[in-house]
Amino acid sequence: MSALLETHNLEVFYGDFQALFGVDVVINEGETVAIIGSNGAGKSSFLNALCGLNPSQPDQIRLEGVAVGGTPAFDMVRKGVALVPEGRRLFPSLSVEENLLVGIHGMSEDRGWTLDAIYDLFPILKERRNQPSTTLSGGQQQMVAIGRALMSNPKILLCDEISLGLAPGVVKDVYVAVTEIKRRGTTVLIVEQDLNAALDAADRVYCFMEGRVSLEGRPSELTREQIQEAYFGI
C-alpha cells in the first residue's frame, strides 16, 4: 500500500499556544486509520491542519507525495481531502438535499459518489430530502455531514468525533456506513473518543497525548494496558 497522506514534524499553534508537537503520521491508501486520545490531546487540531483549516508549513503535510501543507481548506477539498467536522456544522438555511448538493463545489474528480449513491448509503435522507437540516435527529444530521463530505468525491475522508452525542444504536449505524465507504475504496481517517468504536473500525490506530503521538499500531496487536497508558498517561 502506498502512502496517501503523511505528516512530518507537524506543529500547530493557536497564537502562542502550541497544540501539536512534531506529529508524524502515515495513512495508506484504502486504510481506515483512527486517532484516539482524551480531550485536548490535539486530535481535532491535527484533523483541521490536514484539511487546511489550521495553518501548517508546506512540507509538514504531503498528499500522494506532494507537499500540500498550508493549502486553504477550499483547495484541500478539491485535492481530495474532505472533512466531516465535529458537531456536524450543517448549513441551517439549507435543506437536507441542498446540504448534500453544496458538497459538489469541492469535487475535482468523479469517484462514484453521487446524490443517488448517498441516498443508497443513507436511505432515510431521501425521505427527508426537503426538510430543513436543523429538523433532523443528531444521527441523521451526522449522515448529512458524512454525505456532504462524500459529495466532493474525496480520496480521504476525515471524520471528527462522528459518534459524539449519538445513541449507541445510531453510532453502530454510522460505523456500518464508514465500513461501506471504505469498501467502496475511500480512505478514512477517524478521530474518536469512543475507544471501542474506533478500535473496531480501524486497520491502524494512533493515540495522541498532549499534542504528541504516544502510541501507534494495529488494534489486534495493542494490549489494553498499552492503550490506557498512551491514552491517559497512567
Binding site: F74, F91, L101, I104
Partner: protein, 285 residues
C-alpha cells in the same frame, strides 16, 4: 379616500426605499458587513448612468443597462481589493473602511461633477399618471414598485433556486465551514458585492429619475436603506420590501399630518419597531 390615497402613495414610495435597501440587505445577509458607503454607491451609480447617457446620447434606461456589467465589476473589485481585507476583522474595521469610501466617493463626485443637482431625464413618463377608482397613480412610482418586487423576487430566486444561491447561503451560515465544501468565502463575497451593485444600479436609476441628486445625498439614502432593512428584519429579502413599505407609509402618513413630519414619522416608526422588535419584523431564522 384621502387616507387610502396616502397609504397607497406611501406603499409606492416604499418600493423606492426597498430598492435602496435590497443591496444593503444582500451584503449584510451574506457577509455581515454594515456598508456605510451604500448610499454613496447609489449616488455614484446614478452619476455613472448620467455620464453614459450624456456621452452616448441615449435614454437613461439604456445607459443603466450598459452600466450593469461595469458596476458589477466595480463592486466585485471593491470587495476583492478593499473590503475582503476587512471582513475577518472586528466590526469596527469594515465600518471605518466603508466610512472612508463614503468620504472618497463624495469628494470624487464633487470634483468630477460639481455640487450642482442633476437628474436623469425620462421625458413625459416622469409626470404621467393613471387613474383607478378615483386614485391617481404616478407611472414612475408604480414602475419603481414593480421594479422593487422584480429585484427582490429575482434575488430570492437566485438565493433559493440556484447553485450560486446555495453557495451564498452556505457562506452566510458559516463562512469557516463553507470552506470545507470547496467554497472560497472571499470569492463569494466579491460575487455578492457585484450582485449588490447591480441592484444599486437599478435603485440609482429610479432615484435619479424621480428626484434631483448631488454628491452629498448618499448618507440620506443610506439612512432610509438602513431603516428599511432593520424594520424588515436583518438578512430577510422580502422583509426588506416590507420594511421599505412600512417606512414609506409612515412617511406618507406623517406628511399628510404636516409636511415637516414626513421624515420624522419614518424615524419614529423605525425607533418604535427596534424598541419592541429589535431583530425586525421578519428576521432571518
Amino acid at each position: 379616500m384621502s387616507l387610502t390615497n396616502t397609504i397607497i402613495q406611501g406603499v409606492l414610495l416604499g418600493g423606492l426605499y426597498a430598492l435602496y435597501a435590497a443591496g444593503l440587505s444582500l451584503i449584510f445577509g451574506v457577509m455581515r458587513l454594515v456598508n456605510l458607503a451604500h448610499g454613496d454607491f447609489i449616488v455614484l451609480a446614478a452619476y455613472v448612468i448620467l455620464a453614459l447617457a450624456s456621452a452616448f446620447v441615449i435614454p437613461p434606461f439604456f445607459a443603466m443597462l450598459i452600466a450593469l456589467p461595469f458596476l458589477f465589476a466595480l463592486g466585485w473589485a471593491i470587495q476583492r481589493v478593499i473590503l475582503n481585507r476587512t471582513v475577518e476583522e472586528n466590526l469596527l474595521v469594515p465600518l471605518l473602511v466603508t466610512f472612508g469610501l463614503q468620504i472618497i466617493i463624495q469628494n470624487g463626485l464633487l470634483q468630477g461633477f460639481t455640487a450642482d443637482s442633476r437628474r436623469l431625464s425620462l421625458g413625459g413618463i416622469e409626470t404621467a399618471s393613471i387613474s383607478l377608482g378615483g386614485i391617481s397613480f404616478g407611472v414612475m412610482p408604480l414602475l419603481t414598485f414593480v421594479a422593487a418586487i422584480a429585484v427582490i423576487g429575482g434575488m430570492s430566486a437566485l438565493f433559493y433556486m440556484t447553485a450560486m444561491g446555495r453557495m451564498l447561503r452556505a457562506t452566510s451560515d458559516n463562512r469557516t465551514y463553507a470552506q470545507i465544501v470547496g467554497i472560497n468565502p472571499h470569492k463569494v463575497f466579491a460575487i455578492a458585492m457585484g450582485l449588490a451593485f447591480i441592484v444599486i444600479a437599478v435603485a440609482a436609476f429610479f432615484m435619479g429619475a424621480r428626484s434631483n441628486f448631488d454628491p452629498s445625498q448618499g448618507p440620506a439614502r443610506l439612512l432610509f436603506a438602513f431603516e428599511a432593512v432593520v424594520i424588515g428584519g436583518l438578512g430577510s429579502l422580502w422583509g426588506t420590501l416590507a420594511g421599505g413599505i412600512i417606512l414609506g407609509v409612515s412617511q406618507a402618513v406623517g406628511a399628510a399630518i404636516h409636511p415637516q413630519y414626513q421624515i420624522l414619522a419614518g424615524h419614529i416608526v423605525f425607533l418604535l419597531i427596534i424598541l419592541f422588535r429589535p431583530r425586525g419584523l421578519f428576521p432571518k431564522q
